[in-house]
């Protein structure tokens, strides 16, 4: 009895410690095992800025006229460096895209007209991602499908289905360890597959210095970048700055909201962008202009042009020319047009 009296408190303490450890372990392990798909999706948005990785990615583009494959070598390096070298098809082979956290440079060897834009990790891009995620969470039903393997790595499979129509919007395969999307399928408003991209091979942890990727001339990399367009997120500010009175649609398809206004060509044209998180509607407006096609054909007013799976409508009203581009049905197109004030 005495003996047990001595050891009893010690046993209790040991048992308490074991139980405590068990709960602690549960707290650490269980959430990672049963992570909410929304959380996984959210982490995947910033994943490319948090890995050192090198791989080959293939994108299949599906069009009415046929499909084709784009292949590229991709390098990600923490905190915000990325490099894309196109390998196929032949007409774009050798082209490079470099994002150094400040600038995004699209460089074609032998050509002097490189394209410059803001980095994908700029504050503006981060704000856009945050807003898009909120809209995706509001407009799409996010569900997790059984895990799979992509390029030899275990992945979460997340599906996004548009709540209003029930049609698929996106399916993404997210690496369980790094949250980098390794495969992605994008669908249009009719639920048809438009893009399917996948890493055919990927290696993590290999640190690559920017100096190793010195195939873009220094003069191209060091060029001072001045944003060609003024981006304004506030509608009232946009109305004040615009050189002509702006018209806004009163009707928008379900789930869409105003993203930003862009003053193009020194304010001669204004683009109003609307998004539901995944898809974009762009309404261009300007004082009257004539819109022509690539072969210099004049497009009749109100004509609808389908290209790249999206539709373009052009008309003149209230002393202004409007160009509406979106992946929406004809009925929605007309509703937006008629609601413009």
């Amino acid at each position: 009895m005495r003996k047990s009296n001595i050891f009893l408190p010690a046993g209790r303490i040991l048992r308490c410690i074991l139980v405590g450890l068990f709960f602690l372990l549960n707290l650490m392990v269980v959430p990672s095992l049963a992570m909410e798909p929304e959380k996984t999706l959210s982490l995947s948005l910033e994943a490319q800025f948090q890995v050192n990785a090198e791989g080959t990615k293939e994108t299949q583009v599906y069009r009415q006229e046929g499909s084709y494959i784009i292949r590229a070598k991709i390098i990600y390096r923490k905190p915000d460096f990325s490099y894309i070298l196109y390998l196929a098809p032949p007409m774009i082979k050798g082209r490079r895209i470099l994002d150094n956290g400040k600038l995004r440079i699209e460089y074609i060897p032998g050509m002097s007209n490189s394209k410059y834009s803001s980095s994908l990790n700029s504050s503006l891009a981060r704000k856009r991602r945050e807003k898009s995620l909120n809209l995706i969470l509001a407009n799409y039903t996010i569900s997790q499908l059984p895990d799979e393997y992509i390029a030899g790595r275990e992945v979460y499979v997340i599906s996004l289905i548009l709540q209003y129509s029930g049609s698929p919007g996106l399916k993404t395969w997210i690496d369980k360890e790094t949250f980098l999307p390794l495969k992605q399928e994008t669908y249009n408003s009719e639920g048809k597959l438009t893009f399917s991209s996948q890493f055919t091979e990927i290696h993590f942890g290999k640190k690559i210095s920017e100096e190793e990727l010195n195939d873009i001339p220094k003069s191209v990399k060091d060029r001072r970048f001045l944003p060609p367009h003024q981006v304004i997120s506030d509608i009232e500010e946009l109305k004040e700055i615009s050189r002509f009175s702006l018209s806004f649609p009163k009707y928008l398809p379900s789930g869409y909201s105003f993203q930003e206004g862009v003053l193009l060509n020194g304010g001669q044209r204004v683009a109003l962008t609307y998004t539901n998180g995944l898809e974009t509607i762009v309404l261009f407006q300007s004082p009257p202009i004539t819109v022509k096609t690539e072969d210099n054909r004049q497009i009749p007013f109100g004509g609808v042009l389908s290209k790249m799976g999206v539709k373009t409508k052009f008309w003149t009203d209230k002393g202004k020319t409007f160009v509406l581009i979106a992946d929406i049905c004809e009925e929605e197109f007309n509703k937006i047009k008629e609601s413009i004030e």
Partner: protein
């Protein structure tokens, strides 16, 4: 003194409007030059006739009758005559270089005016691809943008 210079000053000589020195020179020249002497005689005749004519008073009511006829004559001058007059004045007024400068300026002003009118009437043209490229750019900024395809999609036909 040469004939050309003398003949120009004969009229002034007759009217006593030349200096004494010049008068002596003209008379000296007239003594040896039959042509100039003949011209002087002719001028003297014209002077005499003019003096006679000026001495006469016009008939009564002459100016009253003349005035409406002058006005009528002015009205009768047609476009052709006016153009002729304008061309005559234009020929006299400017040197060839000046005429060319004026002509070029007028052509330039007319051309620029026509260009301005044409530009203000015809609308500026924009290729539809400019809008589509912008659309692709905005889509490329989407969270789940197709990072390989979107930057090149318009270039792959």
């Amino acid at each position: 003194m040469v004939c050309k210079k003398t003949s120009k000053e004969l009229s002034s000589y007759l009217d006593n409007e030349v200096s004494l020195n010049k008068r002596v020179k003209i008379e000296k020249h007239l003594k040896g030059c039959t042509n100039c002497s003949y011209r002087l005689e002719q001028l003297k005749k014209i002077h005499t006739l003019t003096q006679k004519a000026l001495g006469r008073e016009p008939k009564e009511g002459f100016y009253e009758r003349l005035s409406p006829r002058l006005e009528e004559g002015e009205k009768r001058i047609g476009l052709k005559e006016k153009l002729f007059e304008w061309r005559y004045n234009w020929r006299l007024s400017l040197s060839p270089v000046g005429k060319m400068a004026v002509t070029i300026s007028i052509i330039a002003i007319i051309s620029l005016s026509l260009l301005y009118i044409w530009r203000s009437v015809s609308l500026p043209e924009i290729n539809i691809e400019v809008f589509q490229q912008e659309y692709v750019r905005y889509n490329g900024m989407s969270s789940f943008a197709e990072e390989l395809a979107l930057p090149v999609i318009l270039e792959i036909k």
